[in-house]
Symmetry: C2
Subunit: 223 residues, 2 copies
């Protein structure tokens, strides 16, 4: 028996993982990054096979990780977490430097950055797990990193569909408790039970998604 | 250039990972657990090759993960984090249930438990990364999970030598700033700079390590 709430007790940070080069670069928001050895310094990074970034990692063999703070801006989450690099150039409006083999490294909002060379690509089904050697680790400031728990509880964020921690609501074994609307741009869920004003009564001219600032028309009723 | 402080910005929880069976079981404290796929539900768990638990995982192909709370007791950390199952029976004084293929699951202090079947064992050098299918996920209570950051900052804990995040102080590129003493039992460091009373002046009859309760004689000067 799988209780998804048990899985939510695993602690994560939140990261933008980039790959590619100066000609074509891209990145996605991920929560699944962990160190696996100290000597040599290696980390494991997980990525959905359908992500455009996975294609770029396969082509270049390099990636970067930017560690995000609690104060991460909604535009970073909205752009890197809920848009596809097949449709837009995600990097063009952000501060980026280019590292090992010209891999893009997102600097906007980052508190630390890692540049990595992929040593092993593990096929785990829907996702790849990359075992990567860290070639550069830079601390940019001493802000507190955002945890995934903080993102879910305080920022009311949900996993993108390609994340390892994405839960298909239709497969969850819990009953719905109230009317909910999901933002089609970023996945944020407005739950009437957690808000004073029901979604239906929000001012359509004023209301903005708290995560990605999409307007009310971008929401669909899910329960 | 590797700045270790950048790596410390990666967020982790803290877990006891067990393997073996009713005849011989063991567990260790780890911070490197993450979900890698949702369908099927799989997690990645990292373990030093020298850990006795790694032998048991190789023999049985199963493991369990117990997610620890902020209130985790020093005896759990001291026993599972800083002792070897080759020397003692770590499980005998704790509450344990037996799950899939009789794998021991630590219940003492746990807020949630996962039982897992190992699908892949990845050799990443000093450590194995296990890709495991979760066969049972149980929520025991709704306490906040302890983060590794909280463990380091509030509980003043350090990585055991076998952890992926262990840093050999002699290899760090930073200069020592004050006199420090390390507990040989659990690795806790008493830093004079962070305490009102220098270590040398502590009462040897009264002082106990705040992590594992070892006495003052178990400490050695490291800087």
């Amino acid at each position: 028996m799988i209780n998804y709430e048990a899985l939510f007790k695993i602690s994560y940070g939140l990261y933008v993982v980039c790959s590619g080069n100066k000609v074509k670069g891209n990145g996605f928001v991920g929560n699944t990054v962990m160190q696996v050895t100290s000597y040599p310094m290696q980390i494991a990074v997980c990525c959905n096979k359908n992500n455009f970034t996975a294609e770029l990692i396969a082509q270049t063999g390099v990636l970067s990780v930017s560690i995000l703070p609690q104060t991460v801006s909604p535009t970073v989450i909205g752009t890197f977490g809920y848009q596809s690099g097949r449709d837009i150039d995600k990097l063009k409006d952000f501060e980026v430097r280019y590292g090992i083999q010209d891999v893009p490294v997102l600097l906007t909002d980052a508190i630390a950055t890692l540049e990595c060379k992929v040593n092993q690509t593990i096929d785990s089904g829907t996702h790849f797990v990359y075992i990567c050697e860290v070639t550069d680790a830079t601390l940019l400031n001493d802000s507190d990193p955002i945890t995934y728990d903080y993102y879910r509880k305080v920022k009311k964020g949900v996993s993108p569909q390609n994340a390892p921690t994405y839960v298909d609501e239709s497969k969850k074994e819990t009953a719905p408790t109230s009317e909910k609307h999901r933002c089609l741009v970023c996945g944020y869920v407005y739950d009437d039970a957690e808000n004073e004003i029901p979604f239906a009564e929000l001012d359509g001219d004023d209301y903005e998604c708290p995560v990605c600032q999409a307007n009310k028309g971008q929401f669909v009723k899910i329960e």
